[in-house]
């Protein structure tokens, strides 16, 4: 821990430094922050986080610092800030409603990285993430060959194809029903597709990026991109919105230019396949369903309509829109390792979502994110309701012609 030499500016982008000055403490973020809603504590609000970090900068760069010399932030001050900045799902709701467009969803990882550099972050088991990814190629610290345990026997996967599939660690190790649904749908579509051998697939690096521990990212990007270039991939498909986010937004920057292939979400591909007649439904689904927009898909990538097109193409379905939907969708509470470190908090936040579904009158809650899927699943275990949760590809795979 090097508090004396802490530089709170280096490493932040120009835009981020401007954003830190742009906050007017208007309170709009306070109204929408899911952590504030669940904890009833304004200290977790984005405006308080920004205010706190601004005061750290002020200590070394402000008027008093110019006149009387810089002051050092105390360990207590930094630990308090770490508590604020890491207890956040980075859902991006604050960014969506901020009147001056502060992109908090990108700002928080940058501030977390500063705390890691100074030596006061991250928190708890997050510190194990770099070791796990380095040694096991996944953030769970589990043998990487287990990544393929969900794959059905006899699955036909081409060595090379224009469509590639990236499983993602959360799907492979925690939400196997989701990724099983993905490969079943790909198989049913008849298209030629490829994927890395499960034991060779590497973490996308998102858990490292989001916790401010991104030293390995360059190496992960190089290996991951090459793996699919070698397979002749022109379009890489994945289900996890967090994986898709980092592949779309950060991989090109780290790779040094546009990726040699397009990256898309599974629902985008499936919507196209349905429209082209390559996926047809042999069964109907006579249920009232509501769809939960994952934070990193809706707010992070503006992908909101394709999942709806997929659902509304299913015969018999009665689609009900949740009151909070698309870019204003509620955060389920699971994001950003919150589900592991602040498990009870995440479960409570998941219950808010289940209540929304009940109020909307839906019977089924459709998910398309492994993180949401796992943690909201735990919320369901602690909440008595008739609503059931289903992954979108798990649903589609059970209804399409094979």
């Amino acid at each position: 821990m090097n508090l004396a030499r802490a530089d709170y500016i280096a490493g932040l982008t120009r835009r981020q430094l401007i954003e830190l000055d742009a906050c007017t403490r208007c309170g709009e973020c306070l109204k929408w922050c899911p952590i504030v809603e669940a904890t009833v504590d304004a200290k977790f609000s984005p405006m308080q986080k920004i205010s706190r970090y601004r005061s750290l900068i002020s200590k070394s760069e402000g008027l008093a610092a110019k006149v009387f010399g810089p002051r050092r932030a105390t360990k207590t001050e930094l630990e308090e800030f770490v508590g604020q900045i890491f207890e956040c799902t980075t859902c991006g709701m604050c960014a969506e409603v901020c009147p001056v467009g502060i992109n908090c969803q990108r700002l928080w990882p940058a501030l977390r990285k500063k705390m890691v550099e100074i030596g006061v972050g991250p928190i708890g088991i997050q510190k194990n993430l770099p070791i796990n990814v380095k040694e096991f190629m996944n953030p769970y610290g589990k043998p990487n060959h287990e990544r393929g345990d969900f794959l059905p026997a006899g699955l036909q996967v081409a060595d090379k194809a224009e469509i590639g599939y990236y499983i993602g660690c959360s799907g492979a190790f925690e939400a196997q029903a989701m990724v099983r649904g993905d490969v079943d749908v790909l198989a049913a579509s008849g298209i030629k597709w490829t994927m890395a051998k499960p034991e060779d697939e590497i973490c996308c690096g998102f858990p490292l990026f989001i916790t401010g521990q991104d030293e390995q990212l360059e190496e992960l990007v190089a290996k991951n991109v090459q793996a699919y270039v070698d397979r002749g991939v022109k379009r890489l498909v994945m289900s996890c919105p967090c994986c898709l986010n980092i592949w779309s937004k950060d991989y090109p920057r780290i790779y040094g230019g546009p990726l040699p292939f397009e990256v898309v979400h599974m629902t985008q591909l499936v919507a196209e396949l349905i429209a082209a007649g390559k996926l047809t439904f042999s069964k109907s689904y006579e249920h009232r369903v509501a769809y939960h927009d994952p934070c990193y898909l809706a707010r992070g990538l503006n992908i909101t309509e394709e999942p709806r097109r997929v659902l509304q193409a299913i015969p018999g379905i009665e689609y009900i829109e949740l009151k909070r939907n698309r870019k204003l969708a509620r955060c389920c509470g699971a994001g950003c390792n919150i589900k592991k470190i602040f498990s009870d908090l995440a479960i409570e936040m998941g219950k808010f979502l289940i209540r929304d579904v009940e109020e909307a009158g839906a019977e089924k809650l459709i998910m398309t994110c492994p993180t949401c899927f796992v943690k909201v699943g735990e919320s369901f275990q602690q909440y008595e309701t008739d609503v059931e949760m289903v992954d979108i590809m798990e649903l589609v795979s059970g209804l399409v012609v094979k």
């Binding site: 954003e19 742009a22 467009g101």
Partner: protein, 261 residues
Amino acid sequence: MGASRELFWNIPSWVRFWFYGLATFSVLALAFGTWNRASIWARGEDKDGGRLDGLTVPSLLLLSLRRFFSLDCVKANRALPVSRWRGAMILSFIWGFFILFLGTVSETVDHYFVRFLIGRPYLVLALVLDLAGLILLLGLVVATFRRYVFTAKRQVISLEDSLILGSLLAIVLFGFGLEGIRLAVFAPPGLDWSPVGGLFSIGLRSLFDRAQLLWVYRPLWAAHFLLAFFFVGYIPFSKQWHMFAGQLSAYAAQDNWGDHW
């Protein structure tokens, strides 16, 4: 001679030295603080690939000033869709301050260079500035209610929030008070060209006689300008710096949200 106004009416001439001295100090503080804050921005890395990358300190500052005149800003395009009250408040600040600033510039030009604010031009200016001050005052009242009465649940209000809002309210009210005293003392032709100031003058005339009004005028004038100088000089050292940072942040946000921002 038609209606007009003397710039330092009822103020001893020796005060002008202090007036311009403090004004200079205020502007220097603004300049120093602005350069300091913008220099911090310029230390940021150019790794966003965004529209702010590569801009120098002067470019960033000029851009933030230019953005004040963008349609987004002058129509509060970002704030109005989210909240009509917030949008109206922001519009009142932008337009109120801008028109009052133009009024000050006009009066300075009139006093030091070319006398043109005599008769009808002066009366028109007086009316415009009265209305601008009223718009600004209404915006400040809305801001006060939003901050302290209809406040967001769990909103945290800092001392700085209260100081800024309080000082702005005082500046505007003192300004109307000063105008009210002048109108009460002179009862000039064209009182109805200053509706708000006129109302203040009626109220003040009912409370004070001429000698008292003249006496009150000086400390009120000093308070008005001291607060205004403090406010201007304090901008880069306070939350008010968001006036410039917010313009750039909203501009950069177009990289994410397209023309919506």
